[in-house]
Symmetry: C2
Subunit: 349 residues, 2 copies
């Protein structure tokens, strides 16, 4: 058993604070990782604050993990001590259902085992995430990191990256298409980078005029202020695909109406209130509204490899773990460009 | 010019009554058709009563037309005098936009010219539909009818048939799949017949226990009472595809939750109020919500040919045109199994 330092929430209202836990000794298929960097995802806040009404405390968030392999089980073939490795939102799944068999572990019929607050089938209790100095994960759920990427800026690829890469790939976004990204936050800024890298004419929708310049730097060919009805109407029925990364309540029909025939709006944010969807815009052009959730392990590796080839990482702001509560407050105010990443060396200090 | 007898609405509140109009002499590409039968679609009522706020009066509804060719223009190659012919919801489109080029005239960027209440580009004014004894249509929008089909029962295929056939085909419904049909009316009963003919395990969702027997006769393998939460939950995450033919307000999330990963609910009914769509059911299984609208001309011909091969027609109740107002009242009460068809001989009486 490895004594591990971490930061945890003791309740829905307690600030995150230092905590120690024991990680299992590596089983034959396990990889033990010293965590170097962990991204801060809005889901971490939802979970820590019990906003999904299912949190088991103490809760150690964190599912954008990059680190160094410090030990491997006897059957491990993909990793050796000293390798760079990464872990995303899942640490296991049933591996036999049709979704798992198709490489979509995130859609597992038995539900994937999430990196935190999931049932820990080895040690009992719940899984503890990446706000810690070490983690032990079955190698089937550990990713390789291309050598040329900055490790800290790679961490957010494990959730924000795959969450936006996967739907753009699933829906076949490519050169010659017109693609929209709604919202410029942690997800949206990665969506912009990928849509641009895939060669699409990429349009950012935002409510903030101040974000236009940054959006163009990140890959937007055009920026549309979504509150300006004239600007929106000028794009009616012209989009092949729109990735909607907004978690706040918003008018989804305004985006459905921008799709050409057979186009799709895909949600990766999860607004709390149901969306009011008018049937006519869907019928008249056979438009589609869908959701997407992270991606499978093979696709996550494909995404990391793509990022290596195209030198894509997240724009980040590094923090010591002692600033995590402040960082949460700033995430809630969308005051981050575009992802906080915890420098885990701070946990040793 | 051919003096044509018809039934029209003079205003949103006037009952339909006898009316005469002139059809153009056939142009080189035109087919002149003596109408034998015309189905009664709920859209006819919406249009006659100006429920879409765009009706130009007098309004002659009817877009499920079957008849006999009585004259052809000099360039017509597909039809000759004496042939059986059919006309559906469209009589023309721009023919050059990407949707038209792809055979999806119903999604035409310039809007298709609908069979009634559309801009008549030859005679000016609006197009007049099938509640009449003759119609003149460009041969590109005239369909061939398989010889073995009952002509009266074929008429509803031109709207109810293609409206359900097209989405089942687009989304690849086939043997081995579990497919739901929501609502057993004019559309739903055709959806059942097609899903069954395509070999899918077909489940009808209804609010009416009394419809179970008829549903099974029409092709349902199972019938689920949608108001029974236990019955619904037993089917959670198990459907490949659900065709939703309900125009009344209803809980769409109850159906989205029945889809397996990557499954789709496709709307062919158009509820007036926006649907309240929860984001989570879409995200968690990458589920899809889409719309569909009739079908293209080539696909409509494919559907008619499929019906000929499988001997599929609509279940109908025949009426003389003098009973059309009564029929409208009964459609609004869902009191028809499952489509009224006007015997146009009654117009000559």
């Amino acid at each position: 058993m490895k004594r591990t330092h971490a930061y945890s929430a003791a309740s829905a209202t307690a600030p995150l604070a230092h905590f120690t836990l024991d990680r299992r000794d590596p089983l034959p298929n396990d990889v033990q990782i010293e965590i170097l960097y962990c991204g801060v995802c809005h889901s971490d806040i939802h979970q820590a604050r019990n906003e999904w009404q299912n949190t088991i405390y103490p809760c150690v968030p964190g599912h954008e993990i990059v680190g160094r392999v410090t030990a491997v089980g006897s059957h491990v073939t993909k990793f050796k001590v000293g390798d760079t490795a990464a872990v995303g939102c899942m640490v296991d799944s049933c591996r036999i259902c049709p979704s798992c068999a198709a490489g979509n572990e995130q859609l597992c019929d038995q539900f994937p085992i999430f990196t935190y607050n999931g049932p820990d089938k080895h040690s009992g209790g719940v899984t503890y995430g990446g706000y810690s100095d070490a983690i032990v994960v079955d190698e089937a759920f550990v990713l390789r990191v291309p050598e040329n990427l900055d490790l800290a800026a790679t961490a957010p690829l494990l959730c924000a990256g795959i969450t936006t890469y996967s739907p753009l790939r699933q829906w076949g976004v490519k050169a010659g298409q017109k693609v929209g990204i709604v919202g410029l936050g942690g997800l949206g800024h990665m969506g912009l980078k990928f849509a641009h890298a895939f060669g699409a004419h990429t349009v950012l929708f935002t409510t903030s005029p101040g974000k236009a310049e940054d959006a163009k730097r990140l890959g937007a060919d055009e920026v549309v202020l979504s509150k300006n009805a004239d600007e929106m109407n000028a794009h009616a029925s012209s989009f092949d695909f729109i990735l909607d990364a907004v978690s706040a309540d918003h008018d989804i029909n305004a985006y459905l109406n921008l799709l050409k025939a057979d186009g799709a709006v895909v949600l990766v944010g999860a607004p709390e209130k149901p969306l009011a969807v008018a049937a006519f815009p869907l019928l008249m052009k056979r438009r589609r509204l869908a959701g997407s959730l992270i991606g499978g392990i093979a696709e996550t590796q494909e995404m990391l490899d793509f990022c290596g080839e195209h030198n894509i990482t997240s724009d980040i702001e590094m923090i010591p773990i002692q600033k995590i509560n402040e960082a949460y407050d700033r995430v809630l105010k969308s005051d981050v460009k575009y992802r906080f990443v915890i420098d885990m060396a701070s946990l040793k200090g």
